[in-house]
């Protein structure tokens, strides 16, 4: 972003990568695929790079409102300094926080999640599923991330990316507004679970595996970690891939 600003240019959209997308090895792949999609359709985008900082989401869910608001205000300053108006995020948590919780602190942006961007591009005819890997006949089930689905009522966008694949979409019993959490939300990602008789991601992946899918799709880096760990727990990583909507879209269009 800084380079673009130095040249006196401004992006059509800012890609908010997020901490997982920046640092988590698995999520970094998703980040690169989101960039490939943006480049494929010729959208002029920028990233904040080292100027990006945690949105404050995990701090807020864990009850640390001070830390959240410190992060939020610093980020709003950065975004406003570059006169950012439109943002796409690679993570439902960043999406929810910037879209819903930044406005009353002075940060007003048009924020979408990458699944919504993919849906828009499909609707505009700019993005198809051609020239790449065929998903024909593959069984795919989609896991709704809480902060995308129930949190913000985005259920159709990620499914739109799957519907153009000519694949067999199967829904888990607990899907859409009844979706079961992967277990990472509310800052659980950063702590050991409380005492219980099962891990939440195991409960969830059992449900997904019972459908015998080839692919478990999601669109959240934290769900990605939890679901992948779940698949590994059952030694199914050869048969069942856990993929992000962006990765599936990039593969289907031969962008990788």
């Amino acid at each position: 972003m800084a380079e673009m600003a130095a040249k006196g240019e401004s992006p059509e959209i800012l890609f908010w990568v997020g901490c997982a997308g920046s640092f988590d090895e698995r999520a970094q792949k998703i980040t690169r695929d989101i960039c490939r999609i943006l480049e494929h359709v010729g959208l002029k985008y920028a990233v904040l790079g080292t100027e990006e900082s945690c949105t404050g989401d995990p701090a807020k869910r864990a009850g640390n409102e001070f830390l959240f608001q410190m992060q939020a205000m610093a980020n709003i300053q950065t975004l406003d300094a570059y006169s950012i108006r439109k943002i796409v995020t690679g993570c439902p948590h960043c999406f929810n926080t910037i879209k819903n919780e930044y406005p009353s602190l002075g940060g007003n942006y048009d924020v979408i999640h990458h699944s919504q961007l993919i849906q828009q591009l499909i609707d505009e005819g700019k993005l198809k599923a051609e020239g790449g890997e065929s998903f024909k006949g593959k069984r795919i089930t989609f896991h709704d991330p809480c902060y995308l689905g129930r949190g913000n009522n985005v259920y159709e966008a990620p499914r739109a990316a799957l519907e153009i694949l000519d694949a067999e979409l199967v829904e888990m019993k607990r899907c859409r507004s009844n979706g079961l959490c992967c277990g990472a939300g509310g800052a659980q990602m950063f702590k050991e679970p409380e005492k219980g008789n099962k891990d939440i991601n195991i409960e969830r992946i059992e449900e997904a595996l019972s459908l015998e899918p080839n692919i478990v799709a999601s669109s959240c880096p934290f769900c990605m970690t939890m679901l992948s760990d779940g698949v590994k727990n059952f030694n199914k990583e050869q048969e069942v891939k856990v993929l992000d909507i962006a990765e599936i879209t990039a593969k289907a269009n031969g962008l990788i």
Partner: protein, 437 residues
Amino acid sequence: MLLQALFLILTITAIALFSFNARKIIRNIRLGRPADRSDRPAERLMVMLRVAFGQTKMTKRPLAFILHLFVYLGFVIINLEVLEIIIDGLFGTHRIFASPLGGLYNILIASFEVLAALVLIGVIVFLARRNIVKVGRFSGVEMTKWPRSDANIILIAEVLLMTAFLTMNAADQKLQLMGAAGYPVAGSFPVSGLLLPLLPDSETTLVAIERGCWWFHIIGIFAFLNYLPYSKHLHIILAFPNTYFSNLQPKGEFTNMPVVTNEVKAMLDPSFTPEPVADGGRFGAKDIKDLTWKNLLDAYTCTECGRCTSVCPANITGKLLSPRKIMMDTRDRATEVGDLAGKHGKDHDDGKTLLDNYISREEIWACTTCNACTEACPVNIDPLAIIVELRRYAVMEESQAPASLNNMFGNVENNGAPWKYSPADRINWRVENGEWK
């Protein structure tokens, strides 16, 4: 005359006692902090009509929805009959609406009878679901002796009321057919007509049955009204205001605390003059008075159906957290604090608090903030809001977060990420297979 006077006294006593107890509940709800839910009245009205009046969130569980619909419609519509009963009781008349309404009266009475039969079916199946089939969500750590008895008392009361209502009609009908004095032909009785062969032929006995059931039914209704304030069954009233005052924001959005905004702004800019904020006191919630009135209204509205707990990922996987328990604890504590304040003055401290004495740390830290509970609640109760307030207290007033979360806070503060990575490496995702993309 004597009976009319007795009836008048009964009615006044029942209403007075109910208002006395209702005022106590309003007092307890007002213990909470202010929260503004006066915006967007048209949208609020629509939510109330849809969710409470239209029961739309009940449809997720079709069997319970249908049975509950019988009882709900029965309750709302048969109450029209109670109006007639009260007028008859006060003026010593019998079926006062019969002649002015004419043919419509027959239709009304017939539909009351059908509804009464449906209510009976509904509550009998409900009793079976709780006590014989033992549907999972009606058990749990918080479902101790009293909540279980409370549910059964209500259901049995409804069986008795509906039986009395139908028996009364049956006796009335038989007396009408016999041409007994004071029982002019009125009403149509498709259900209670089936009971006729079971009734005796003596006119005196029939009158005794008819009058007995009439008094039993109305006294039962007064008793039921006065049982409400002590019971989970209060939802039949509070579901309406509670859905009207629903959170209209996206579920993912948590409140931004204005007190904190002031402090953070003052920290970033020393010349900043804070706007006055209404809620002083502590950060987050340790006890009842730290929660908002809406959290407390939620608690009094809860009817302990357990839909929230049955979809809670933490509860499903054996953790201690149960969103229903959060609501029940909040209500029990609000009642306790309210009663103590009534006895010993507003600022009485009994040394107990909602956090720790009722809700444990283990419960609040098990929550994934996934909003399954708020989605499942048929009357838009929000257990998550209370959990977050308790976390805020633990973190901001006590610095008592689990150690791993304190590490995460430290990382966010120092590195701008929840993990221990350098901010300078934030762009390294561009390196793929050793190549800079």
